[in-house]
Every structure is written in structure tokens, then in C-alpha cells.
């Protein structure tokens, strides 16, 4: 097997807030091979954005390693880091904040081209910008050259954001809630455009979203990683995860997706959680952090031992004591009480 393009090994990130340590991301490991897609899914505050920022090198992990093509990005020399820097691009969630309001669209897109000498001259730059805009399906490109970001709609801005990330021909794109802030009617076309990019350009995608339905659409051929309070609770191939979720949290998330068919929604089995409240990151429950809400909770097991992510079936990694037991695997003993 070739070296994965992105690999996280035991990555944690803590923040200090009023003298208290907040564990935003706790011991997360996963790897992505070139051309693959992985979706990080979870509710707000589960650490998916922090993970995305660490993958793209904007944040330094408190512990653990983020590797690009097998090398720890924080131990790279200048030349290697430069290569990594351009190879991994991030698309921000908010298309209103991610474009500089003082620049025209042409300037926004041509700056990286000119800075990195990816074009020979002004004419070439114009040609390349036009091409990029066509890639992200903005037409006619020339009409947008002299426009300012505030003159564009949210969907158009997000497309420009994507085009800007593409200027440096990245191999990995981290899309942080890239479609969450745009209108639902535009979301699907934006998703379709990103899917097309993934197929045509062979870009590896790390797609961060809170919406399992979006993840399912986007990463059907890839994997979904479900995060809960900074930990990864399930990492499985998308069809398995959707059709046969192992972790009770994944199950709860899936049951919460509204269906377009009211008959389906009415008859659909809703998982009853023991508590609707998400515990505070400042005061995490001991053992499995989900045990306060988990319908499968077992006293003396779940609130004592932290379950580690374990492969239960090929391509299905789950961190749950009860689910593991069903597969005849015990997660207790390998980990200490934290």
C-alpha cells in the first residue's frame, strides 16, 4: 500500500480558556489515500473544524503528528513545507468572510497565480483565471473580473473561494462546512460541482460537515468519520455506516435526518437518547463521553473505560464497548481509566 497523502497519528489539540484546559480534539487518528474522500461529521463543538485546521497546518497539534506523504508537517524543512503548504488548501465555511472585500474577483484569483509564477504574463493570467472560473461553473467569467465580493451571491462567492484554492493546483482540499452557509437550492449544485472536481482533477477531499445527508451524498465512495466531543467514535465506509451504523451516536444522528417522504418520517424509528444535552467540553464525562446520552449505556463499563477506535469489520472502525462486544471484541483492558 502506498503512503497515505494525509495521515493523523494520535492528534490532540487543547485550548486554554480561563485557566481551564479545553480538549477540542482528543487522540484522533486517520489516514487518507490520494484521490480518496473522507467526511468528518459531528455536531458543533465536536472538533471537526479544529481537525481541519490542523490538517491544513493553520493550527499546531498539542500532541500527535500530522503527516503529509509520510512526513510530519511540523518537522519539515522549508522546501518540503512549501510544497505541503500549496498542496493542501482549505475552503472556509463563510463565503462572506473568506474573500477580501477590497479586491476585485480578478485580483483575488490572479494574486496566487502571479505570486507563484504559475503564469507567464498578464494575458496568460487572464486566460487561467477564466479557465478556473469555468471549472467552478461561473459564467461568463469576464463579467465577474471587475466585480467586488459583495456584489456576488453566497453561492458565487463560495465558487470563487473554491477557484482560489484551485489556483495552486492542490492535491488535498479541506472543505470546512463549505456548503452549509449557502441556500439549500444552491447547495446541491455546489456539491455537484465539488464532486465533479474530485472526479476530474483527482483531488483528495477532506469534507467537514454537520449534515450526514450531505456527507452521504458527497462521500458515497469514500468514508465517513463521526466525531463526538473531540473524539472519533466511528470511521467507516459510507455505505456501511449509513446502512448499518455501529455506534449508537451514529445511529442517533441517522435517525434524526428528516426524510422527504412524510410517511417515512412518521414510521421511522427515532432513537431515544437518555439526555438531549451535550456535555460541556470544559467538563467532559469520564469513560465514553457519550455515556450520559447513550441508550446502550452500561454502568461500570461505559462511564469508567474510554473506548478506543477498533476495527470491528473490514472498513468499519468503532469506539463503543457495547458494539464491540457484539463482535466478540473487548475494548476494556487496552486503555486506562482517564
Amino acid at each position: 500500500m502506498s503512503t497515505p497523502i494525509i495521515e493523523l497519528a494520535g492528534v490532540s489539540r487543547t485550548f486554554e480558556q480561563r485557566r481551564k484546559i479545553v480538549k477540542a480534539v482528543d487522540n484522533v487518528s486517520f489516514s487518507v489515500n490520494e484521490g480518496d474522500v473522507i467526511c468528518l461529521v459531528g455536531e458543533s463543538g465536536c472538533g471537526k473544524t479544529t481537525t481541519g485546521k490542523m490538517v491544513s497546518g493553520l493550527l499546531r497539534p498539542s500532541s500527535g503528528e500530522v503527516r503529509y506523504r509520510g512526513k510530519d508537517i511540523w518537522k519539515m524543512n522549508k522546501e518540503e513545507f512549501r510544497e505541503y503548504r500549496l498542496a493542501v488548501q482549505l475552503i472556509h465555511q463563510d463565503p462572506y468572510a473568506s474573500l477580501n472585500p477590497a479586491h476585485t474577483i480578478y485580483r483575488i484569483l490572479s494574486a496566487p497565480l502571479i505570486h507563484h509564477k504559475l503564469v507567464q504574463d498578464e494575458n496568460h493570467a487572464r486566460e487561467r483565471v477564466r479557465e478556473l472560473m469555468r471549472t467552478v461553473e461561473i459564467s461568463p467569467p469576464d463579467d465577474f473580473f471587475d466585480k467586488y465580493p459583495h456584489q456576488l451571491s453566497g453561492g458565487q462567492r463560495q465558487r470563487i473561494s473554491v477557484a482560489r484554492a484551485l489556483t495552486v493546483n492542490p492535491s488535498v482540499i479541506v472543505a470546512d462546512e463549505a456548503v452549509s452557509m449557502v441556500d439549500v437550492s444552491i447547495r446541491i449544485s455546489l456539491l455537484a460541482m465539488l464532486t465533479k472536481l474530485m472526479r476530474d482533477l483527482g483531488v483528495t477531499f477532506i469534507f467537514i460537515t454537520h449534515d450526514l445527508a450531505v456527507a452521504k451524498y458527497f462521500a458515497w465512495e469514500g468514508r465517513i468519520a463521526v466525531m463526538y466531543l473531540g473524539r472519533m467514535v466511528e470511521l467507516s465506509r459510507t455505505p456501511e455506516l449509513i446502512n448499518n451504523p455501529q455506534h449508537p451516536y451514529t445511529n442517533a444522528l441517522l435517525s434524526a435526518i428528516p426524510e422527504a417522504d412524510p410517511r417515512l418520517t412518521r414510521t421511522k424509528e427515532r432513537i431515544q437518547l437518555r439526555s438531549p444535552d451535550v456535555p460541556s467540553l470544559l467538563n467532559l464525562p469520564p469513560g465514553c463521553t457519550f455515556h450520559t446520552r447513550c441508550p446502550l449505556y452500561e454502568e461500570g463499563l461505559c462511564d469508567v473505560h474510554v473506548p478506543q477506535l477498533q476495527e470491528l469489520e473490514p472498513g468499519v472502525d468503532v469506539a463503543c464497548h457495547v458494539a464491540a462486544r457484539r463482535h466478540g471484541i473487548s475494548l476494556v483492558g487496552e486503555t486506562s481509566n482517564r
Binding site: S98, P112, H115
Partner: protein, 279 residues
Amino acid sequence: MKTLRLLMHNKVGFAGFLGVLFFLFLAFVAPLFIPLDTETRVDQIYQLPSAEHILGTDFQGRDIFSLIVHGGRDVMVVAFLTGLISTTIAVILGSLSALLGGWVDSLIMAVTDVWLAIPQLPLLAVVATMIKLDSVVLTAVVLAALAWPSLTRAIRSQVLSLRQREYVQAAQLLDLGNRHIISSELLPNMMSYIAINLVFAMTGAVYSQVLLVFLGLVTLSNNWGVIINLAWTRGAIFSSMAFMNILAPVLALALFQLSLVSFTRSLEEIFNPRLRTSV
């Protein structure tokens, strides 16, 4: 052409712009045609405005209009230089402080805090006794040395907030370099702020220098401040006929300041593309 249209767009701003132009013309071009009246005419002291002397005459019978015309140049040059020097210092120190952080930030902020705590006017008076402030440039330098701290703090907080913007992060991700980030991502978004603060620094400099001249701490030859100072020392306040002698320079100062401040409205529109679109 586009800039001119933007200038005209805001009526208050355009009026201010015209006012500034008028005063520039008055101070730099008019002196070429209107000679400075130095003659003493004892029989024409404290005259009211008339066709011959449109702003009246002063305590020694000189034409006040000619004094006003010749007294503006130094005021404006000092104001402009002071504004330019203090704003430049503030932008450089403020950005460095915000971008580098750490001990550089602590050091710069400590210095500005101390500087801000010093009462400026007494310090100016002390400085003026040590250095003979008889040149325009020297006066500007001294005034600028006192004016930079508050703006430095403001610029620092601007940069700190802009630095966290996602488009700055995007520029970092695209490895566009610090020079690009400062000159293309940060500065354009601060330009209106800087330009407006430059103008405010100028208005501040006008007042402090006129005050210095009025107090006699700065000995510039001909200046709106000098007119007030002389009128004061020669007892103009005791003569009800002498009001033009005080009013003329005060009005000139006030109108010049008003023009500058109104002009900032246009500057705002020129530098902010979001306000610009309605044109």
C-alpha cells in the same frame, strides 16, 4: 476620473474637498499676488471690513486679509508633515506590534502607554524651551513625536482584528508571503481608517501648533497663531473695535478644520468599495 466621481458623490465630503482646495490656494498661490502688508498706519488702526480692507485692519493698521493669506502656509505644512510623520510611525509600530506579538508587542505597548500618560502640553512647553522651535520641519517632528501613541494603539487593534479574517488565513494557506498579506490584504482594508486618522492627526496638529505659537513657545514668523498672539498681547481683547483681528484668524482656522473633517466623508467612500457601489 473615477476618483473624481467618487469625490463628488458625497456632497458634504465634496464641499470639504472644495474647502481644502480653497485654503490650499489661499495659502500657496494667493501670496504670490497679494503682498504682505508690513506698513504701520497709525490712522487706520482696527478698521472694520471695507472695500479697501476686506477683513479690516489690525492694531497697527495692517490689512488683516494679507496677514491671513501669508499666515496659512506654515500652518498647513506643519499640519501635513505632523500628520504624515505620526501616521507613518503609528502604522509601522502598530502593525509590527500586532503581527509580531510576543515581547515586541509588549515593548511597543509599554512605550505607548508611558507616552500616553505624559501630559502633552507641559511637555511641549518644556521641549520648546530646550529646542528652539523656529523651523517648520522641527515643529512638525516634535508635534509628531507626541501624536503617534494613540493612533498606534488604534492601528494595532485594527490589525489584530483583520489578521484573524478568513481571507488573511486564505492568503497564508496560499503562501503569498508576509509582504503580500500586509500590503494587499491588510492595508487596503485599513486605508479609509488610516486616511481619516491622517486627517484627524492634521487637525490635531493645527490646534497644537497654533496653541504653541499663541503661547509664544514656537517662533514662526507669520502664522494664523501669530496673528492671534499679537492681537492678544497688543490688547485687542480690550477694544470692542478689534474683534476682526481675533475673529479672522480664528475663522480661518475653524473653516480649514471643518473642510478637512468634512473631506474625510469622501475619503471613506473612495477607500471602501462597499460604500462605493451606489455610484
